[in-house]
């Protein structure tokens, strides 16, 4: 990430609406602002329809924004046509030209710019080598596997040495194992070349493993931006907490406070959180499943009944009913020490350092929405 030529990207107040049949419009992106430092890898993470792809396409010049500024190293590019922007885009479906060989696909941007043939050969060969396809130059895209096609798409985008690289869910059509592998290659390539990158995905694991920073999007706006750790452990809203991982959202009320600590009533039990709040304030206590510990012997904490136990290979998830609330806890399957079975009565311990507190008026607490009316079914916490 120390490429001296890497460019900073700044998006200010980007707005884009699409017309609907019947004359109405739907806002895809609303007053969207974001700054990406030179060489930084930022991911737009959000559910489908949150506007993340629209942002990407607007940056590439494939959509025209209704309002807003796009600055690349301080220079506005919003009025440039796509072919003048020097912004590489890796498409979800790769968009490899089916009538050109792998070599010709990767060489395309050079040939468009009439680069001398010797230089083209050298650059393309190096790019294909970098993605491990140096033997495949003569093949047509249709003769490659999905993972190989994806690598060609990456090589084709990297080789043009763009000022900014955009990725539109490029791994979504690969199977799980390949996705992890190509993900690593993609990150290594980007780091080595130091190109500023913006990545779009709805997969939180992908976002966290790839990014320097993550911008979680909702309804065309940034809900929160921060490092993966910030977004995961200190989410700005229940939506963000829920989107980046499983979470127990527990309702709480401040009963007293002293020395910068508030004592909160959660699950009919008291815990201290490092925050000053007026007595009576409603709070939302967010506890990741790994921040909930279970004990077979009831301690001085809340008590519940294990309704369901899910063995996932690497970990075991327990669904515990405490009164009307369902709490999820996980334990590493390898260091299985809890020794708990379905139907057991257990004591819960919330690891205070790993809790995150939000004002309750942000959203209705999720665990209350999650309580199934029918006891025979149980839902995922995230």
């Amino acid at each position: 990430m120390n490429n001296p030529t890497a460019k900073a990207l700044e998006i200010r107040g980007l707005t884009k609406a699409y017309p609907l049949p019947g004359g109405r419009t739907v806002a895809a992106v609303r007053d969207f602002s974001l700054r990406i430092e030179p060489g930084e890898f930022v991911t737009l993470l959000g559910p489908s329809g949150c506007g993340k792809t629209t942002v990407l396409r607007t940056l590439a010049g494939l959509e025209e924004p209704d309002a807003g500024e796009i600055l690349l190293e301080g220079r506005s590019i919003a009025t440039l046509p796509p072919h003048r922007r020097r912004i590489g885009l890796v498409f979800q479906n790769y968009a490899l030209f089916p009538h050109m060989t792998v070599f010709e696909n990767v060489a395309y941007s050079f040939r468009i710019r009439r680069t001398p043939e010797a230089a083209v050969r050298q650059e393309v060969a190096a790019a294909l080598k970098a993605v491990g396809l140096d033997e495949m130059g003569g093949r047509l895209p249709g003769q490659l596997s999905g993972g190989q096609q994806q690598r060609v798409a990456l090589a084709r985008a990297f080789v043009m040495k763009p000022d900014l690289l955009l990725f539109d869910e490029p791994l979504s059509s690969l199977d799980a194992k390949l996705r992890v592998q190509v993900r690593g290659e993609l990150r290594r390539l980007q780091k080595r070349l130091g190109t500023t990158a913006l990545y779009v995905t709805h997969d939180q694991v992908e976002a966290m493993s790839l990014s320097d920073r993550i911008a979680v999007m909702r309804d065309g706006q940034v809900a929160q931006i921060g490092t993966p750790e910030e977004v995961y452990s200190r989410p700005a809203s229940l939506f963000v907490a829920d989107f980046v991982g499983r979470v127990n959202a527990l309702h709480g009320r401040v009963v007293s406070h002293s020395n910068g600590y508030a004592t909160v009533d959660v699950l009919n039990h008291r815990i201290d959180v490092p925050m000053s709040h007026v007595v009576g304030t409603e709070l939302l206590i967010l506890a990741r499943p790994e921040a909930v510990q279970l004990r077979k012997a009831a301690g001085d904490g809340p008590v519940g009944v294990v309704e369901e136990l899910e063995y996932c290979g690497d970990e075991i998830a327990y669904r515990v009913r405490v009164g009307t609330v369902l709490v999820v806890a996980v334990e590493s399957a390898l260091r299985r020490t809890w020794n708990i079975a379905q139907g057991d009565c257990v004591g819960l311990h919330l690891m205070q350092k790993a809790l995150h507190v939000l004002p309750a008026d942000v959203q209705a607490p999720m665990s209350e929405r999650e309580i199934p009316s029918d006891d025979s079914t149980s839902m995922e916490a995230a």
């Binding site: 072919h83 479906n93 790769y94 030209f97 395309y108 249709g142 043009m160």
Partner: protein, 559 residues
Amino acid sequence: MQVARTAGIAPARLLIPGRGWALAGLYPLVALLLAVFVAYPLVDLLGRAVHSDGRLSLTPLANLLADPYSRRVLWNTLSLGLTVAVVGTLLAALYAYAMTRVAMSWKGPWHFLALLPTISPPILMALSLILLYGRRGLITNGVFGLQTTALYGYWGLVAAQVLSYFPFAYLLLLNLFRGLDASLEEAAGTMGAHAGKVLTTVSLPLLAPGLAGSALLLFGYSLADLGNPLLLGGDYTVLSAQIYLAIIGMYDIPQGAALAVILLAPAVLLFFGHKHLAKATSFASVGGKGSIRHPQNRNPAVRAGALLLCGGVSMVIILQYATVLAGATTELFGINYAFTAKHFVLALTTSRGALLDTIGLGIVASAVAAVMGLLVAYFVARSRMPARGTVDFVANLPLAIPGTVIGLAFALAFNHRPLVLTGTALIIVAAFTVRALPYAIRSAVAALDQLHRSLDEASTNMGATAGQTLWRVLLPLVRPAVVGGMIFTFTRSVTTLSAVIFVVSPHWSLVTPAILSQMDRGDVGEAAALSVLLVVLVLMVIHGVPRLMGRDWRVGING
């Protein structure tokens, strides 16, 4: 297009074994029917062309090719075909581009009007051109006071054939333009290619096979056309008209057969050229699902040009049909424009037999073609029957053969033992069916593709018997495509002239030959009235049958 191409999808065990065996029993019957009604007439025709005085000889063909007049006819045929192919493809490509990539109003009407000629007898174009631009034409004579025969010949034929056949090319290119993955063009743009470069390096190379296919299609249609050359050719004689004159005019059967074989040669070459082209350039789809969100060109000049093109072509088509309607409702078009219903009355009385026969035989043929199509598609694509490659080839052969040649082959082959069918309804139904079979097979393949084996298994798994599965799951799924195919067969059958002109008889007459003979006699009004009735009939079937069935089955035709 042969169906073997799609055989890769779920093979063989589409049907539960018991049902499979019952169907397998029909295989010899299907093969026999194809042998008798496709292979035999063609072999018989070829035999006539290479026999002289009872001995095998190439003399008739050689004589024909040595004859300067015949050579000119051949040359005429090829140059007309080439012109129609180039002009028609260009027009169709521009029309399809305007419809898919330009922000333009009234796309619905433009689309409907462009497709209107695909459902009318091609002879209708000749009729309205004569009424408008002929010696006593409304425009040439009525407006400009000219007494000209300029319409008759090369340019008149080009106009009539381009108008009649460009819609088929338009339909082909429309789907191609729509299907082109938009992200490919976007990708080229992000890599530095400006609009012109994107066109030359990405869009055109990807569209080239389709454009070539469209040109071959139009060339084939031009070769096969009989009605327009008969009515508009004048001194410009082409092969199909020459065959007609040899058989009907001079009753010179050896000469007619030899000419038919000569017409067959370029048609078959075209057919295989087309197949080769399709195979060589069909790129496997790459990656996941592409985007088809094509940006609409909003350049005012482009929009105005597109509107002018689509509006202009549509106006010409409207004028053609309006003229035929006017011809049908006036005393004598070109001379006496007083309103009259007498042509319709005449058409519905004297030509009632032809109308009823056309409808009846068309319906029978579409049902037969649907069943045959399903069976052939099943045997070829989903079974392991012996010689299914040959069955596929023979069943699809009629695609390559001009209607005139099929019609003549039928008339000659079934006029002598062992099988005499001259004058029967069967020979007409057979001609309709054979011509429509390749299309019926294509619809049936689409229908079978709806049937993933898991559906059959799911139904059985939930306790349905083989019969219940067939009735509740399989038939409802294949019905849209099969009904779509039947509508297509019906349309094609009732509007064709070339394939039936040699097989109609006093007992069984048809509308298109009736129109031709009325034109010959100068009964323009009655010919126009019959044409109008035919177009209305076809429109009613295309729009009425799907509605009667409660759902728009036309979706099934394209899907």
